[in-house]
Structure formats: C-alpha cells, structure tokens
Symmetry: C2
C-alpha cells in the first residue's frame, strides 16, 4: 500500500514499501537485500546487524527519523548486555519498521560480501561459500508420532531454511542425538551444497548457537612444497597460512621420478599417497594452531595440483601419466568427503573439492591460474606463465584460450645451479653488473640494502651470503649478458675477452665471481658455464611452450605477460626478457600475479559458483601437448640463444642495449678438433 | 509401413511392424519388450537369446516361417562353438527379422522376470535390481583431445546405455585404468541406481565381458541370530543361505541389556558394532564359500533388523532407545556404501540399503514383514505377528494398517524354560497328550516319526531327546490344557487332581514329565509350573499387543492371522490359539508366512521399486506404542488365563473342547496365609 513505510537499504540501493511492523530482516528478505542471519531471526547470532541512517535523503526521496524504527526490545538489550552491540547498530531481526527509513548493511552483515584479494587483483572474490551455518529449533520426539531425530531435524531445516533435501554425512549421524539433547533441541548445522548437488549435506552439528566459526583450507599441492591458506568461511578472511615441504621428495625430486618410483616399486604409489596425507595432517595441525582453532572446524578444502600430484593425493596410480598418451584416470573436478579419500587430516565429513585438470600434463594448478587470471575475460591477448619445475602456460583472450605445460626442470628453483639454494636468508636475490667496471652489486634475502650501500657488510656479514636463489640466477645471467660477460650463445668470455678480473678459468670454461666470502670462512659464489647452460635449457623450454601456443593461435606477439607462481612474483620482468624466458612484449605489460594457482584455490573455496566457472573454463580451453609436437623441438633449439637466435625482441631493445659480443670461437674450434 | 514384417513376442503378446532387417533385440526395444542384454548387442553375452516359433498362429494373425529370420551368422556360429546355444535358440542381437515371425522370450532372457517365492506367497518378486551389468567399448585416450579415462567411460555409458550421469565410487576409480587397458578398452561395469538417485554409480569394473555374475545379500539381523541369503542379482536365485549367532549376545541376551551395556560402558556401543561387523564378515565368508564365488562380487546388501540392532550396525549409540520416548537417531531408510558404514565384510563400494523403521520399538524388520505380507493390499482384516524376543504386530487392510511391538521375552525361543533348548536335533518340537490316559506322544527334530510309531526308539534313542524347543513348549502347554492337566489359571494339577502318574511334585508346585531319559543316561524332560508361568507372560504380551491394535482399529475380531518369523513357521495355529497367544479366528485362516522379514529383505534386494514401496507403506502405517499405553497392562492381565479370562474364543471352541478344570485352590490359599 502507498501508506506503508518506504525502506531503503544501502549500499545496494534496494528499496520498497513493507507493512508497518515488519522486521528489518524480513524486509531485507522481501526486497532481496543480502542480510545475513544464522539464528533465523531469534536475536542471538547478531549476524543481521544494520545501521539506521537518519536525516533527509533526497537522493532516495525519504526523510528517515529515529522513530521510524521500534525502540530497543528486551532481546536487543540482553544481547547488548551480554556481548555488546556497536553504537548505532540494531539487530535486524528485532528492529521493526514503523516509518520511512534508510538502513545501511555493513559488510560484515552481508553473506555475499566482496573479499579484496591482496595480490594484484583483476577482481574481488565474491563470498558464496558452499558450506554455511544454520541455527534451528527441532521438535522433540513424540512416541505417538514416532520419527527419527534426523527426520525432525530435516523437517526443521526445511521449514526454517528451505532445505528441500537433507543428506546427513554418516560420520555426523553418530553425534546427532547428543547434540540435540545437549542443546535442548536447539542446534547449529553446517550445511554444504555443492554446485552440482541437489541435496544439502550436514557436515557438522553443534548444540545451541555455534560461535566458533567454520573454516576452509585452500591448498596448493606442489611437487616441492605444499601451501595452505586457512580461511574463515563466513568472512573470507585468511586466518592462517603455512607451507611445508612435500615429503614425496624422498621418492623422487621431480614428477617423473615419482612416477618411476610407482612403476618400479610394488605399493610405491600407496606409500607416496600416505606420505602426502601425513603431510596434510601436519599442515592442518600447523594452520589450526596458528589460528587457534580446532581442526574439527575445517569443513572444506579445495585442492589445486598437477596431475601426478592429483593422482597420488587421491590414491590413484600415476603410471599412465609417465608415458604417452598421458591418460588421466579422471580429468573432471571431484567433490568427495575426507573419508572417501581416506584423508585423516580433516573431519571425515569435510568436503574436498579437487579442481579439474586440463590435460595429462596440464593440471588443476593451471586451471586455478585460469580461474584467478581469467584470460578468457581479457580483451588483450595475454600470456600467463606459472613458473615451476613444470611451467603451466596459458595464452588467450575473449575469443579463445590455449594451454600447455613445459618441462622446465628445477633450475629456476636454484637446483642444478652450482651455488644454487632455496630462496631463504643469505641467498642472493638481485644483481646489477656495471657494464664498464663489470663489478656486481648484490641484494641478499633478509637485508634491504644493496651491497654497495653503507651498512650492508655490517648487516649481512661476509658469511651471510650463502648462495643464489632462482630469481638471483635469472638476474645474474641476464646482467652478465647485458654487461658483455656472456655472448648470445651463452658462453662466458675469458678475462682477456671481457676485461674483468672477476672471471676465473674453470677447466676449459670460465666462471664469474659474484661474491668471495672465503677469507671470512664463507663460500665462493660464482656463476659457472654449467649454470648458464642449465638456465638456457630451462628458459628455452619455457619460451618454446609459449611460442607453440602463439603458433597455434596464429600470432607472433602478445599484448600482455603475467608471471604467476610463488616464484614468478620475484622475477624481474626485464631480466626474464633479456634472458628470453618469455616472448618480447612492452615491459610495462609484464606483471606478476603472485601465487595465482593458490588464489584460484581460494576463489573456489569461497565461491561455489566459481567451481562451475572453472569447469566451464577448462572445457573451453584448447590443450596443446608439447611432448609430441615436433615444432616444440625447433622452438626449443632456437630459444637456446640469449635472448633468442632469430626473434628480434624489438620491445626489449627499446629499453636496453644488448652487446654484440662473441666469445671463445677459437676455443670452441680447438675443442671440436680434439 | 504395412509391408514391414509383423513380429509378435510371447509371452508378453507385444506386437508390431519393424523394417525388414531389424535385429530381434532392436525390435524388442522398439516394441517395449523385456529382452535382456549386457554386451549391448555384440553377440558375446548371450543374454538376449530368443526362441522363434514357426507355424500358423491364427491367434496372432500371422504365419511364422523359418525364413522369417536371417540365417545364422558368424557371430552366432562362434558363440555356439565356444559356449553352445540351446537348440532352437537364436541370439536376438544377431538374428534379423525378414518376415512375419513369432518369437518367444524365455524367462532367463527377461530382465524383469518373476521370481517365485518358496514360502507361502501372496505374490511373486519382480526382478528389478538396482545394480546391473553393462558392457561397453570405451574410446582410447587421445593426447590432442585429452580427457580422463573416467570421462571417456562415462561418455561410452551415455551413448550405449543412456547413463546420463555417472558417479564413480572412489574405491573403484583406483582400478579403472588397469581394467580398461587389460580389457583393451572393453569393460563390464556394475552400475547402481537407487530409487532416489539421480545418477548411476559405478560399483565395479571388469576387463572384457564379466561372466562371474554379481550378487546381493539379504540380511535379517536379529538379536539372537543373523541370517543371510546370497542372491544372484540377474536371476534372482538364492545361491546360498547361512545363519550365525549374533555375537553381541555376550554383551546381553536381549535388546535392553545391550542398551544398558552401551550406557554403562564407555565405548560399549562401538564394541558391539565391531562385533556385529565381524560376524557379518564371517557370514559373508560362509555364503560366498558355499556358493563358490568371490566375496568381491557381492555388490549390494539389504538389511532388516530391529531399531537397536540398526543403531548398533550403523555405529550409532542406542542409548535413546532404552528410555521413553524411544527416539531413533534416524527412522528413514538409509542407502550407504560399505565404506560409509566402515563395514569391511563387503567391497568398499557395495551399497547397503537399510529398510526404514516404523517407530522406536518397531523396526525395519516389521517394515519388511509389511513389505512381504502387504496387509495394505488385503480386503480381509489381517493380523500379522512376527514372533521373536520382541514380537512385531501388524493389523490392517486396504483402509488402514497399524503396527506395534510387544516385549514377549525369550520364552518362545526356549530360553527361561527349564528343559528349553534351541531348535536343533534332539529337541521336542511337537506333542500330543491323550485326554484319557494323559500320556504324551512326541516328535523330535531330526526324526520324522512320532514316539509311538515303530522304529522311533531305534532312530532317536533315549539319549537323543535333549529338551524342548519353542514350538514344542507351546504345544506342550496347550496340550496339557486340552488334556485337563492345566487349568485356565495356568496351574498344573496334582497327580490326584489329574489322575496322571506323569505329574511329579516339584516343591509346592507340580511338573509334567514329557520324557524320562534318565535310565539311558539322558535328561528328564519336564514342563514345570515355572515354564508355564514364563509362557503365560510371553503369550499375554503378544495377545495384549494384538488386542491393543484391535482396540485402535475399533474391531473385536480379525479375518485372518499370519504367523511370521522363522519360528512362526513352526508354530501350530491350533495350539497357539488354545494358548491364547493370538486372538480367536477361524483356524483355516491362521497361516504361516515363514521368515517374512527375511523375505522382505529379499524383495527389497531384487526390486528397487519395492524400496520406494516399503517407504510409502511405513509412512502410512499408524504406530501404536505399547510401553506407555495403560490399556496394554489391562489386556496383559486379562490375557494371563489360558486361553483368556474373558474373551470367549468361539472359533476355537468350535473345533476343540477346553476342559473346565480348576486346580490347587486350597494350596494357593494355604500359601497366601503362610
């Protein structure tokens, strides 16, 4: 009716008339306003808090006066006394609308609030978790109308929360009767509804109002490390993050050696599954302790990983992934309970969502990068490279997205490098070489000074420089090329050829001394000819993969390059391009996306619709298999030169000069004759 | 077209025209004829065999000639050579229709064949199992269109078998890749679709054509014994039956003592769950060995049991069932995997269907009796009594069905009876007492002669009579009443009062000697006054339960009585009525239904629609709780007399004379004064 009060909700701007005496919560539901409630309007959960705004809102065409809401009632007073209500706030389920009013819904009262991504974000994460809390009052048993406690719970959830079909996880059924009686027939349910489910699934039940929150774990299961973000499923906040080494390393450093281990050893796959499940247990213990929560509150997990890790996590033999045609046991996403997988780290009922694989060599980690970076929404043709032991590469725009993986090997992670080490304190992470003096300046992890700045020696000490990490070796090789210490073929010049006394003979080749800590009892940190060869192999594989996708797309340049991966975030775009790891592009268009795979896992954790999205995305992606593609070999060989044997790299040359040096021609000839 | 051949299938009588050259299998599918096929028409499974009939079938209006079917082809010839095809049979997928023809579908080629129930059957069981076999050819993996093996299997099942949504049991996924490769991309799948499922679930996969059959187990889990029928899921044939003691007996003889055990002992419920799961393992081993099959081929199980057993089987604490209001954790049917329940006896993927409970005291066993006996389809008002430690009682007809349970105690099973024993060799199972001489004649389990027939002594021997089983004690008490040895109050007369030298003094009461084996070193088998009191308590409870339902229904007579239960089959209706266990009814209308609960389990196993049926049935049943109903006590007291203190039993008196004796009035008075 026209005389009914007019109510305007901000920030949504949704408005409408409701009968006098309607509660704010009911008004919100009627007008489709996103206002949270766990207790179903009983004034105990306080999730439906709103802030009335009073004054003349000409924009909304109303004058909002304090008397437009009912006065505080006993329920609000009790809540305020017990737990405190912020000044200016009301409980939406208690405050009744008596006149025209403007009401603000603060972010914490919105179910579908936006979570801001910390990394360079293309978009925010919409909160739309698959698992939510619902508080209900259940009818007590009646001998003369006997139904089970479960059936009366289901009826209460239907009546109060519209849950049409309830399935109870078998592990939860055992605790149902006790929870109902302890809570005197009032319980809080954790209800899960996946994007493909027709029923809600009861994952946990607590007596009374559960105020401990529920949590989800976004896991990036890499060959080398396992990283997890523990996330509050109501707020989307990351409450703890932790990473541990993947203990499968003892069965093989890289994926193929683990596949071999499974092939050569009866029960080997099972052993590796047990090892990763154990590690998950440790990781869950770590993040739960860090956040100060019980691990039993972790009711969901999303998992991104490469196909071999996916198989080993699920208890599947990865043997088929070791040989063409690299057939996955299953490529679709999986939605299972921890009990289904035999994963003891989480409650038996906890739901595990494994993102879909793109192909036998392009796993859920690549799918997660796609979900995080959404190349399919980009007008610009973007190349996304997730740098790791295997590089996942995506190329595409609105029209089409291609994907492949490329076996770069572990050189970029500091392995197979003479002075290589993991990115930890003491590792050289940045290098600049003066093109005239050929002298280096260094930055070391754990110190924010350059080595030529005052105080560096005091802060780091000679012994404090222990080796070179992945981003360091990329910069070292690129800087050596820019300083004319290394030629296009990757050969380090002699002291005579380069004019640098930092060049040392090393058998028939040469090394460049980055740091000499010997006098202080520290190491001699050098870049050897072998290091450069290893980096050349790795960068050629990466470039060749990208190039293969560009061929498939029919282009010879890209608009934008995104370096993804925990490691990718630390790579200097300039140096990567000098090295020829990535194709030529305007330097300002080369950005880092941080751990995009981990972000994808987090998106899938918090937004159940994103799961449908990534599944659609993966189905639409064109997969390119590098392992059997002859052009991959051609591209690989051509990419061996620094930056490249034939590609001109005009954008790169616009910002740097790359010396036209050529070393060791005589030496090479001598060797060949020998 | 009118010129297309006319084909008539028998026994269905379905007929129609199909294009010349159509295979018989395709014609059957087109005309909706029930013709089986596992291999999908590849001529290898032989499930689609048909028998053409030739001649002039004026009834069907066709003349069927041998040339109406194509000649044997190479596939049929190869099948016949390898495995033999019965004379006159053709493979329906190979034989093509060239002219008018009459085709008979033999029972073994029908999916939905009828299985004849051995017990006194109201109806046949329709074969409509939830789990079926499907043979498919799966596309090989293609690196350039990479999908998982599971996804290609799902696609094959969709294309060939119309499986719209496939879920793969996690335990089956691990063996998928190997099965596909061993079978060279031809596999047989066991697919399960429950009556509430929207997806098919893959329960097992075999390379090539699986010819080992698949099996289901119908289990009647009683407090005392566990009985199981192993059944072929394609033919419906029971291939092995076995029963073992319920090992939970060591925690308590009856249900309430087991509930107490769970209440008094931390972890007691878990112990009892483990015990019954162990026993299931033994039982599965037994039936599988008897049938000569691998236990891994048992892919389904249906379970009927009382509510306490249901809770303990599922790992639920039964404590709430020990006290009013007797709240079940869950009353609906359950459909779970063996892995969900933690039941190691079956393959992890095997589906377990637990029939619904009617009330806290009226379990799935009563629901199964209702499914087997279908009182709701009866025009006559029928009373169904499942006699056991707890009696389940159903009363109803087309209009309405009522149910209750009544705590009869273990007397009917021979417990609490001085010479009582289980129904095994040596137990007296039938008795006749001459009303003049008061001398008994006996029948003993294991011997088909009466004790007064020549050869009995030789066959049984004096030592061979060891005690009285449940049906024996019922006959003994009833015959003693009919012979005037026991009065209406249940008192055994003295030798003087009865004129029988078989009456012995026994403290202040008397006993009747059924058999004296003492000289031969055997036992003295007597019926004591205590035995009669125990039987009176049991039979009063049973009668009172039935009577309570009759009150609720507003009737004082029933048209028909069905004695169900393994034990019920052995009860003589006349003697049960003399005892007053059951209400008065025409004797010819008192029948035995054998183990109706077990039959209900078997029906639910073989016909997935019967699961929906029993769920509907249970929802429609009116539950009556005996434990808190004051009239139950009144009925119980009045039913103490033999046959009854007030009910006239006119139908009974039409066939027997019940002596109007009264004993020991003086004795009783003396005792009361003392």
């Amino acid at each position: 009716m026209a005389d009914d009060p007019l109510v305007v909700f901000t920030p949504s701007g949704k408005r409408g008339r409701v009968p006098t005496g309607t509660s704010v919560l009911d008004a919100a539901r009627r007008l489709g306003v996103d206002l949270d409630s766990v207790c179903g309007g009983r004034g105990i959960c306080s999730k439906c808090q709103i802030a009335p705004a009073f004054g003349d809102f000409s924009k909304h065409g109303i004058v909002s006066r304090p008397e437009a809401l009912s006065e505080w009632n006993a329920v609000e007073a009790r809540y305020d006394e017990k737990r405190g209500l912020k000044t200016g706030r009301r409980l939406g389920c208690q405050a009744k609308i008596l006149g025209d009013v403007a009401l603000d819904v603060p972010p914490e009262s919105q179910v579908h609030r936006q979570v801001v991504r910390k990394d360079a974000a293309l978009r925010e994460i919409a909160m739309n978790p698959a698992t939510r809390l619902a508080y209900v009052e259940v009818a007590e048993p009646d001998m003369h109308a006997p139904t089970g406690d479960a059936e009366r719970l289901a009826e209460a959830l239907r009546a109060e929360w519209g849950v049409e079909r309830l399935e109870i996880d078998p592990s939860v059924l055992a605790g149902l009767q006790k929870a109902l009686r302890t809570g005197e027939w009032r319980v809080t349910c954790a209800l899960h509804k996946g994007h493909r489910d027709s029923a809600h699934r009861l994952l946990a039940i607590w007596p009374g109002l559960h105020e401990g929150g529920i949590y989800g774990l976004a896991v990036d299961l890499g060959s080398t490390t396992i990283a997890a973000h523990l996330t509050d499923l109501s707020t989307g906040a990351v409450v703890a993050s932790s990473g541990i080494m993947n203990p499968q390393i003892r069965f093989g450093e890289d994926l193929m050696s683990r596949v071999s281990y499974a092939m050569m050893n009866e029960g080997g796959a099972t052993e590796m599954t047990a090892a990763v499940h154990d590690a998950m247990g440790t990781l869950v213990g770590n993040v739960a302790a860090e956040a100060g929560i019980a691990p039993g509150l972790i009711l969901e997990m999303t998992l991104v990983c490469n196909p071999v890790m996916q198989h080993l996590f699920l208890g599947l033999d990865p043997v088929e992934l070791g040989q063409a045609p690299f057939a996955l046991a299953t490529s679709d996403s999986l939605s299972l309970s921890a009990h289904d997988i035999g994963l003891a780290a989480l409650p038996a009922a906890a739901r595990v969502y494994v993102l879909p694989c793109i192909a036998g060599h392009v796993g859920a980690d690549a799918a997660a990068v796609a979900l995080s970076e959404r190349p399919d929404l980009s007008d610009e043709l973007s190349l996304t490279v997730d740098v790791g032991t295997n590089a996942e590469i995506l190329l595409g725009d609105r029209r089409r997205v291609l994907a492949c993986s490329s076996p770069t090997g572990p050189a970029f992670e500091g392995a197979q490098i003479s002075s290589g080490q993991r990115a930890a304190a003491g590792a050289i992470e940045a290098i600049r070489i003066d093109p005239v003096t050929k002298e280096p300046r260094l930055k070391v992890i754990g110190c924010d000074l350059w080595s030529d700045e005052p105080g560096f020696v005091e802060k780091v000490g000679a012994q404090g420089i222990t080796g070179i990490c992945g981003s360091g070796i990329i910069e070292a090789v690129a800087e050596m090329r820019l300083a004319g210490l290394v030629d296009a073929g990757g050969l380090i010049g002699s002291p005579e050829e380069t004019g640098s006394k930092r060049i040392l003979p090393d058998g028939r080749t040469h090394s460049y001394v980055l740091h000499d800590g010997c006098e202080a009892g520290g190491p001699l940190v050098t870049v050897t000819q072998g290091d450069i060869r290893a980096i050349q192999l790795a960068k050629s594989a990466l470039y060749a993969g990208a190039r293969l996708l560009m061929d498939e797309m029919g282009v010879d340049r890209v608009d934008r390059i995104v370096l993804a991966g925990a490691f990718g975030a630390h790579i200097s775009p300039l140096h990567a391009m000098v090295l020829g790891m990535i194709p030529d592009a305007p330097l300002g268009k080369v950005t880092s996306a941080g751990n995009a795979a981990g972000t994808g896992a987090r998106i899938a954790l918090l937004d159940v619709e994103a799961r449908a999205e990534v599944e659609r995305l993966v189905r639409a992606i064109t997969k390119v298999e590098t392992a059997v593609e002859p052009r991959f070999q051609e591209h690989f060989v051509a990419a061996n030169a620094i930056p490249h044997a034939s590609a001109p790299f005009p954008e790169l040359r616009r910002v740097v000069d790359i010396p036209e040096v050529r070393f060791g021609a005589a030496t090479t000839r001598r060797r060949r004759r020998a």
